[in-house]
């Protein structure tokens, strides 16, 4: 299993193949379709990430010392964004998730989504994934 940095570089390489924003968005939409979907029972109001215009649910499980994320969204672009994050952070140890930076978002041309005031809540999503990692790390210790 690759580490977070390697997966991020892989994603950056994939996005580098595209010439324009439309192709990047189309690819992101494709990635959204491959997102490991959250079990319906976890699609609760408590699991909705605040700060998004669309609904985003995230759930985390601990398997063999690694955090496994599943998610879903009712908007397809948001689903693509969370899919990218899940791909980068899922199946990793809590500490690695907490230590990881998110500069790769900028590199794949989605910088505009990083603004904290942007209504899609990418920043809230990252925060939520890290919160889960923190919770599991605290549990392990």
């Amino acid at each position: 299993m690759s580490n977070i940095k390697e997966i991020q570089e892989e994603i950056v390489d994939e996005f580098a193949m595209f010439d324009d924003w439309m192709q990047r968005y189309e690819y992101m939409i494709e990635l959204g379709k491959s997102l490991p979907l959250i079990d319906e029972q976890y699609k609760t109001d408590e699991n909705i990430i605040k700060g998004c215009q669309s609904k985003v649910w995230v759930h985390a499980d601990m398997e063999d010392g690694k955090v496994v994320f599943t998610a879903d969204s009712d908007a397809i672009i948001t689903k693509g964004i969370i899919a990218i994050l899940v791909r980068a952070f899922s199946n990793q140890e809590p500490k690695a998730i907490l230590d990881a930076n998110t500069d790769f978002i900028d590199e794949i041309g989605l910088k505009e989504h990083l603004s904290p005031t942007r209504a899609n809540g990418l920043v809230s999503m990252i925060k939520q994934l890290k919160m889960y990692a923190l919770a599991y790390q605290t549990k392990v210790q």
Binding site: W21, M22, Y25, S54, D74, A75, I76, I77, T78
Partner: protein, 407 residues
């Protein structure tokens, strides 16, 4: 209806319309959120800060006098525009929300448990929450006029809700989420028959319809400057003098006093009683200029041209296919709230923004309307007199592309 809008000349008045967004010419269809600012208004703002920036009223020096004169002239412009009987009935506020809160706060002393207040299902949150707070404070009950599938008020239900217990009715003139023009003449006269006061939220109507507060016989009418080609942070509350005398001040501070001692403070007369602190002087002056600009074009011209845009946009958008338009009243302003079958409004907004098109997506601060239609939100395109059919074509093309990408 014919109009006399020289569109090229009008567009040249708005510097922002020539900029590009994401490499495409800006198509600004978010006018219901805030309107763009013509050069004359921008110039008035610059002139104020370059030539006569000073605090108003009470100043003995020339600059203060010039600023006071300009500010009071703006009040007179607004009085004349809304045809208020007196200048004292025009209160400068920070915007519609401020105006509503000012009245809601004042009515806390006028209501008691058992009284009823009526609001409509088509309201913006800012015309719901202050009244809920008022009801919590006073024990009065909030009643809601339901809406119909076409986005209109169920007037039969309104008549049933009205009773001798009704003390206040608040309805918007035009719904921000759907564009429906509500029958406020009937609402005002029926409410008055029961002795209830009426507040009309004119924020969405004022850029398109010139309200005559005396002809309407309305008790309170509130608007925001930034939806009428003026700056943000300024608005107007019109109130009938008898009500403004009756209601207590909203905020204490400078400007609103007559005499202050630690034993007792007496309040200034109208309108200053409701204008505590240094107001948005420049904003008020610029708002006055914006009103002059709009009247220069003529509200009949504006309405006729915008109606043309609305009809054209509705036809073109429906031709895209799988389009659901919310708010289909025959009486509506140039607003199209819509969704495309199976696609989230946020996704459409995001894609068309990449093509330079500014619309609003979401619940438009009107969640009860979204709940009624059982949708998370809509895409709202709202047009102004400076928009064109060519821009509508670009918008429709962008929606088509978004639909293909997102389906």
């Amino acid at each position: 209806m014919s109009h006399q809008i020289d569109i090229e000349k009008v567009r040249a008045d708005f510097p922002i319309l020539s900029r590009k967004v994401n490499g495409h010419p800006l198509v600004y269809f978010d006018n219901a959120a805030t309107s763009q600012t013509p050069k004359v208004v921008i110039d008035a703002i610059v002139e104020y800060y370059e030539q006569y920036n000073a605090n108003i009223h009470r100043g003995v020096h020339s600059l203060s006098q010039e600023a006071t004169d300009a500010y009071e002239q703006a009040r007179e412009t607004l009085r004349a525009h809304f045809n208020a009987a007196k200048k004292e009935e025009i209160i400068f506020t920070s915007g519609t929300t401020h105006g509503i809160n000012l009245v809601a706060n004042g009515f806390a002393s006028q209501l008691k448990a058992g009284d009823e207040v009526i609001v409509s299902a088509l309201e913006h949150h800012s015309n719901i929450v202050p009244w809920q707070m008022l009801c919590e404070k006073t024990g009065a009950q909030l009643k809601v006029i339901p809406m119909t599938n076409s986005g209109e008020l169920a007037m039969d239900a309104f008549h049933e809700l009205l009773s001798d217990k009704t003390k206040l009715v608040f309805v918007n003139h035009v719904s921000n989420a759907l564009g429906t023009i509500n029958p406020i003449e009937t609402i005002i006269s029926e409410a008055h028959k029961k002795g209830a006061a009426v507040l009309i939220d004119g924020a969405q109507a004022a850029p398109h319809i010139k309200a005559d507060v005396q002809a309407l016989d309305v008790d309170f009418y509130v608007v925001s400057g930034h939806k009428m080609c003026g700056p943000t942070g300024v608005g107007v509350l019109y109130g009938k003098e008898e009500w403004l005398i009756k209601l207590p001040p909203y905020q204490g501070g400078g400007e609103m006093i007559d005499q202050v001692t630690f034993e007792k403070t007496t309040y200034a007369g109208l309108p200053h009683k409701f204008e505590a602190g240094t107001p948005n002087i420049c904003g008020g002056i610029a708002f006055g200029k914006a009103i002059e600009y709009l009247n220069g074009l003529g509200f009949e011209n504006i309405a006729a041209y915008e109606h043309e845009l609305l009809t054209y946009a509705t036809e073109q958008l429906l031709a895209v296919g799988d389009v659901m338009i919310y708010g289909t009243s025959s009486e509506k302003t140039a607003v199209i709230s819509f969704n495309i079958e199976g696609i989230h409004p946020y996704d459409i907004g995001t894609i068309i923004d990449k093509l330079g098109i500014a619309v609003r997506t979401g619940h438009h601060c009107a969640q009860p309307i979204m709940d009624y239609y059982k949708i998370p939100g809509t895409v709202r395109a709202s047009f102004s007199f400076y928009n064109t059919k060519e821009e509508i074509d670009a918008f429709v093309q962008a929606v088509k592309r978004a639909k293909i990408m997102l389906s």
